[in-house]
Amino acid sequence: MTMPDVEASLSTRAAAAFADYRAGDRQALHTLVAAVTPVLWHVARSCGLSPQNAEDTVQTTWLRLVEHADAIASPQAVLGWLCTTTKREAWRVQRLARTVDSVDTTDVFDLEPEGSTPHDPATVAAMNDEARRLWQHFVTLTPKCQQILRVVCMGGAPDYAGLADAMGVPIGSIGPTRGRCLAALRRALLDDPDWSLT
């Protein structure tokens, strides 16, 4: 069994676990689920799904991975595949909820999320000052920027570009460069005299 460095990036750990799983190690699937599910939760929620629909969507994504495990080009592609599948499934769930749409050829990545990031207001109120102030600036960003940043930040720095790519924004928009969304958040924070990095 491959033993990735504990400090390895999410995409590296996911690739190693998926390679082990495809080689017949069923325990590696649990490792993969535990590592990547938090990111997929935020992908589904960033698409505007309710908590229950987001849970169902993430479950469906994992079932699809098991069904299609042999069709994924390389283990390194698995994190992106999971994020993309979650996003497509979230889009399908939302289409079902709306039902009124007729033929729609819009690509999933061109859909603008509606409104601001779903969250629990009571939890936000209970955050420490620094986190709450960051959150207040975050929710003033465009819905698209909120969607991208909340998913991309769930990885470590080496994962940013890959996660941004999976969310349908061009490579280079965030990681290794700052990108438009993070630049906007950074400006808002640095202009706020009450915010400081601790």
Partner: protein
């Protein structure tokens, strides 16, 4: 201070992303049962098991439900399992009746699985059972049949 989108990320950017991850994780936490629910779905899919349902519950219960009743009955397309939760010298004792003798039933609590085989009356039992969530996995009753797994109940 300027912050051009095309600049390389610096330490401030990385710190903002870390702080954002912290805030997002607090503001919209992953449900605590999501990972175990997914693993349960995957194990069902892997063994092509049928999910039994609690008798007297509406069909299509969304997710495994906990029930603290002392007698619980599960049904599937091929079998019925009645579970009686008793206390024996301060510990839990589980007696269950399944539709037939010689059927293997596993009591599953987390990673712990204890198998028992039903007697001629269809009875299986487990002594000294830990409290907590549990499921039962019933081996196929007919050759070529599907195993049946129950939703979780609180013991």
């Amino acid at each position: 201070m300027t912050a051009h989108p095309s600049d390389p990320m610096d330490d401030i950017d990385l710190a903002i992303m870390d702080a954002l991850r912290h805030a997002v994780t607090l503001a919209d936490p992953v449900p605590p049962t999501l990972v175990s629910d997914i693993e349960f779905s995957l194990s069902l899919a892997a063994m092509n098991a049928e999910l039994a349902r609690l008798a007297n519950e509406p069909a299509g219960v969304r997710s495994p439900v906990a029930d603290s009743a002392d007698t619980v009955t599960f049904t599937s397309s091929t079998m019925t399992l009645m579970v009686v939760i008793g206390r024996d010298d301060g510990q839990l004792r589980i007696d269950a009746w399944v539709s037939g003798g010689g059927i293997t039933v596993e009591l599953i609590q987390g990673a712990d699985r204890v198998a028992a085989v039903s007697d001629v009356n269809g009875r299986v039992s487990w002594a000294r059972v830990q409290p907590g969530l549990a499921r039962f996995l019933i081996s196929p009753i007919t050759a070529g049949g599907r195993p049946v797994i129950t939703p979780a109940i609180e013991l």
